[in-house]
């Protein structure tokens, strides 16, 4: 074993340990913000593994997309909906927890047995390509052309859908429309009515 291999093994060990620890943290922490931040740690560790696999472009893309976009969005959602909720402790909660743990450990045992027992059809050791970028590009424009193009339709639709769900619709006020002047429709925002300060004896309820 030369120096480079040793460094690779050590970095693999560190990255794997980091990833498992962070992933456990994501699941086990009570505070959801910690889970979200640790999720970023998991993503970064995975990108480290990609680098060890000579997939430099995928590693950078992993950081850009998962850490820079997905995780930031998750954090945004958590921080904007930062509502303190007091949960009543359920009696016998430990039974549920134990059952979940049992299922998870069982699944883990099954999958690890599978990984160890299966004779993986490993091809001959692959030499690192000259440029992963060119390789990926060639795949994108030959055998994976169709999924690549379909993904653009998928993303377009996801974007439109997200806008539809997030936008506030202007709908015609039905009461106003049915009154004397049917031509002049009053548009208002049905969602998020203006928050009224709760004054005593206020009958000025909008809905």
């Amino acid at each position: 074993m030369n120096l480079a291999e040793g460094v690779q093994i050590v970095s693999f060990g560190i990255l794997a340990a980091l990833m498992i620890a962070a992933a456990l943290g994501v699941v086990l922490f009570e505070k959801i913000v910690y889970s979200a931040f640790l999720l970023g740690g998991v993503f970064i560790s995975i990108s480290g593994l990609y680098i060890l696999l000579n997939a430099d472009f995928v590693a950078a893309a992993q950081i850009l997309i998962y850490v820079g976009a997905v995780n930031v969005l998750i954090l945004f959602a958590i921080m904007l909906v930062n509502k303190e909720e007091v949960f009543k402790p359920i009696s016998g909660r430990w039974i549920r927890k134990a059952a979940t743990a049992l299922v998870c450990v069982g699944l883990f045992a099954l999958l690890s047995t599978m990984v160890l027992a299966t004779p993986w059809n490993l091809a001959a050791p692959i030499t690192a390509p000259e440029s992963t970028l060119i390789l990926i590009g060639k795949h994108f424009f030959s055998d994976y052309l169709l999924p690549f193009e379909l993904a653009s339709v998928l993303l377009l639709m996801a974007m439109i859908g997200a806008i539809i769900i997030a936008r506030r619709d202007f709908i015609p006020d039905i009461e106003a429309a049915s009154s004397d002047q049917p031509l002049q429709t009053v548009w208002r925002l049905p969602e998020r009515p203006r928050e009224l300060t709760p004054t005593q004896g206020s009958s000025n309820q909008r809905k």
Partner: protein, 524 residues
């Protein structure tokens, strides 16, 4: 450029012409809506319908194409895929017919609804022909994500929100499980994503009967069963069907399911050919559970949409019989039944939509005495429900007979008997609704029906609804009597598809290699 011209000659891109038409229609709908504005809602649905029909016509032209593989084996446009793509596209067409008025009345914009529905159709069509793991997954996600969006489309309705969230969470989990299973397949075959290549690699290598393959199989089936909502992966179905907009439910119960079945046939028959014993066994269990649970729980439902949800679970169970049979007759009976199911189920949903547009309710008890007020609606709904139950002169009867016959031929006696028993159960709950509508005396009319307004077909968006009802009514009635062309079509699509034919050739060999002591022959 050497590379690009070299690739371009091998693409055979004409095979996805029907999907290309759908993509163009999506863009057309979006851009027209953007430029013209609200007033385009009057004619946009017809643009979409024209596009879908053009796509079906293009599919017809591709029938029996000499070279079915396209995009370097990434997509297989054989006749089997054409049948399923046709079913998906037709179901979307009928769905658009019934959704025009519904979406208008719910106060949401129509153009985006149609665009998302078309995207879901596109995903379903690509899924029916996908021959590559990456393609399968991307197409599956296109279908799923569009379905989630459609489910939550009426966002001011909290039930729709709930349905969308449930569907999204369970769907994401099942996608993840499916992806895990498929990635195992990638590893077992030594880095192949093409289904044929995987089959070859698995047959040559020693990964053929390993634990890894078994787990891959179970995970893949979990993902597929979610799409076709087979018990025990059905939990989302009733809630989602109840909460989401009714046209979406109609599409989910026909188009999405047909795409799921197409995926099941292609993935399991091709890539998992080595373990066909195992997946036949798993699907037998799924079919038994679906038929029993779907039909029995449907008995207890009071909401029409929930009842149709459980009935669709049961119907999926029936269709699985044809799949398990694994013969030519089995597969073609699946296609035949799905084609008929398309019209009768969509017809039923169109009637439900019309009723709920008129009255605002979908409780079964509110249908009582409808005959006096709206004979057309009563007639259409009765015939569709009776056909779903499998009462003779209608199409559903012949579909079921064919399914059961092919199952019986293949030696699935227990399954067929169970199917017969559960369809008797299903007849009970279908007839209950019919009896409610037709037989009641005038004084027993429900309050809703008493206030039933006159149907004004001249209102915007009502005409397509009427067309939808009439078309599905005619199709359901006539497809039974004049079923021969459909029959030949389904048969040909199976016989002309090399995937199924070669699977049948290799299956006995593979079986002989795997389990010589097996005493339960699948193919007789």
């Amino acid at each position: 450029m050497d590379f690009s011209s070299n690739i371009a000659t091998q693409l055979n891109a004409g095979a996805i012409l029907p999907e290309g038409i759908v993509v163009v229609t999506i863009l057309l709908v979006l851009i027209c809506d953007l430029i013209v504005g609200k007033s385009s809602a009057r004619w946009l649905p017809y643009v979409a319908i024209a596009g879908l029909l053009a796509s079906v016509a293009a599919l017809w032209l591709k029938w029996d194409a000499t070279e079915s593989l396209a995009f370097l084996q990434g997509f297989n446009g054989d006749d089997l895929s054409i049948a399923f793509r046709g079913i998906v596209a037709l179901s979307a067409t009928v769905t658009i017919l019934m959704s025009v008025r519904y979406v208008e009345q719910s106060g949401t914009s129509l153009a985006e609804f149609i665009a998302i529905l078309l995207a879901a159709t596109l995903g379903g069509m690509f899924l029916s022909g996908a021959n590559d793991l990456v393609m399968i997954f991307v197409a599956l996600e296109t279908l799923s994500i569009s379905s989630y969006l459609l489910t939550g489309y009426t966002k001011r309705d909290p039930r729709s929100n709930e349905a969308a969230l449930k569907y999204l969470l369970i769907g994401a989990a099942s996608s993840a499980i499916f992806l895990y299973g498929v990635s195992l397949l990638y590893g077992l075959s030594g880095g192949q994503t093409n289904l044929d290549a995987i089959a070859t690699a698995l047959a040559n290598g020693d990964g053929g009967e390993s634990l890894g393959l078994a787990i891959a199989l179970v995970f893949a089936i979990a993902g597929i069963s979610f799409k076709i909502s087979a018990v025990p992966f059905h939990q989302w179905t009733p809630d989602v069907y109840e909460g989401s907009p009714t046209p979406v439910v109609a599409f989910l119960s026909v188009g999405s399911k047909a795409a799921g079945f197409a995926l099941a046939i292609r993935l399991l028959v091709t890539a998992f050919g080595a373990v066909s014993e195992e997946w036949h066994f798993i699907f037998t269990a799924l079919a038994i559970l679906s038929m029993i649970l779907g039909n029995v729980v449907a008995l207890a439902q009071t909401s029409m949409k929930r009842m149709l949800a459980y009935s669709s679970i049961g119907q999926a169970g029936f269709v699985m019989i044809g799949f398990i049979a694994g013969t030519d007759a089995g597969y073609s009976s699946m296609i035949f039944y799905l084609l008929i199911y398309l019209f009768m189920n969509l017809g039923a949903f169109t009637c439900v939509i019309l009723f709920s547009l008129q009255t605002g309710t979908d409780q079964i008890s509110d249908y009582s005495g409808l005959y006096q007020k709206d004979p057309l609606l009563t007639l259409a709904l009765s015939i569709c429900l009776l056909s779903l139950g499998g009462i003779p002169p209608f199409a559903g009867f012949f579909g079921k007979i064919y399914l059961f016959w092919s199952g019986w031929q293949a030696g699935l006696y227990g399954l067929v008997l169970l199917g017969l028993v559960t369809s008797v159960v299903s007849i009970y709950y279908y007839i209950r609704v019919v009896k409610m509508m037709v037989v009641k005396e005038p004084q027993e009319m429900s309050e809703t029906v008493e206030n039933y307004p006159e149907v004004r077909w001249s209102l915007p968006g009502m005409r397509p609804l009427q067309v939808g009802i009439v078309v599905s009514l005619v199709a359901t009635t006539l497809a039974g009597i004049l079923s021969n062309p459909l029959f030949t079509f389904a048969n040909n699509s199976v016989i002309n598809s090399p995937v199924l034919q070669s699977a049948k050739l290799t299956q006995p060999i593979a079986k002989a290699g795997i389990s010589e002591t097996s005493d339960r022959p699948i193919v007789q």
